[in-house]
């Protein structure tokens, strides 16, 4: 079973890297960009074929390590 975990900064948390990327896009002449927030994507292989078990395992992975829930949100998608 494959899954994708996306970790993003919570609203209101300052993202200097996103701001720098936003500035770089502007200086490259890419128009129409109102804001950029940088996040992380993890593609994960799971041994189980049980969806509920996979969800529980991925939740544990996110809470214990992949996201710092002080500043980040996470989203889990199971293929």
């Amino acid at each position: 079973m494959k899954a994708r975990v996306t970790v993003t900064l919570k609203n209101g948390v300052l993202d200097p890297q996103g701001k720098a990327i936003e500035g770089a896009l502007k200086s490259l002449g890419v128009e129409g960009i109102d804001g950029v927030r940088q996040g992380k994507v993890f593609d994960i292989e799971l041994g189980t074929t049980d969806k509920a078990q996979a969800e529980a395992q991925l939740k544990a992975a996110c809470e214990k390590l992949l996201a710092n829930t002080v500043i980040e949100n996470y989203r889990v998608e199971i293929a």
């Binding site: 948390v13 300052l14 200097p16 890297q17 720098a20 214990k64 390590l65 992949l66 710092n68 002080v70 500043i71």
Partner: protein
């Protein structure tokens, strides 16, 4: 006073830390991160600076969950002293021993320079040899030192006097220019609720000898050593 300096893959300031502790009179030894226990009789645990696990995922995230950290958590829970410097501060935040997080510096640059800090209180084991409001001359070297916490946490830190050091000018004034990484409220270091855990971004261990340009960092190590009665 017995201190244990924890070494993670990618730590690089453990040598200076052991030297600073030893010069102050501590019996300091290095402890590998895979250990499950601290050496018997450890009074102080130190998490030194560096780039543990290459700063992969988030600074300090993987080290914060290393095997030895359970022992460090237990040591702190019993009131034992813990000091985290630079990457060590990031590890303490990731391990849940201190609130908040160190984000990328606001100007996105790695900063490396001499830096004055204002000592906010001197009634702790870490700062008793300084004077309140003293501006100490140490240095900083980090890319992720921008202290960030939610409003409630910040209010609690300020309300309970848990801010240990702030970025200041040579006179001890808190100015925007002195706060080069963009930290909230110019925070350079914080204590845990019980004042037994200190995390700070600047490096006191770098400024302990005239040979390298200053000795203001000594006070912290001497404070720690003088907090313990001498072994017979």
């Amino acid at each position: 006073m017995k201190s244990a300096v924890i070494v993670f893959p990618g730590s690089n300031r453990e040598g200076d830390m052991v030297r600073a502790l030893t010069l102050a009179g501590s019996d300091a030894q290095k402890v590998w991160h895979a250990e499950t226990e601290l050496p018997k009789g450890t009074d102080l645990v130190v998490l030194p600076g560096g780039f543990s696990y290459g700063d992969y995922l988030r600074c300090g995230a993987i080290a914060g969950r290393a095997t030895v950290m359970d022992a460090v958590r237990a040591h702190a829970a019993c009131g034992g002293l813990v000091l985290g410097v630079c990457n060590g501060f990031q590890i303490l935040c990731e391990a849940g021993l201190l609130p908040g997080i160190l984000m990328r510096n606001a100007n996105l640059k790695f900063i490396c320079h001499r830096q004055y800090l204002r000592v906010e209180r001197t009634d702790t084991a870490f700062t008793r040899n300084y004077t309140k409001g003293q501006a100490i001359d140490v240095c900083v070297a980090h890319g992720e030192g921008n202290y960030t916490a939610d409003e409630e946490t910040l209010k609690r830190l300020e309300g309970e006097g848990l801010v240990a050091f702030r970025y200041a000018d040579a006179q001890g004034h808190i100015t925007q220019d002195a706060n080069r990484n963009g930290s909230m409220n110019s925070i350079a270091g914080i204590y845990s609720d019980k004042l037994n855990v200190l995390g700070m971004m600047p490096h006191p261990e770098n400024l302990i000898e005239d040979l390298v340009g200053g000795t203001d960092g000594r006070g912290l190590f001497e404070s720690l050593v003088s907090s313990f009665p001498k072994a017979a």
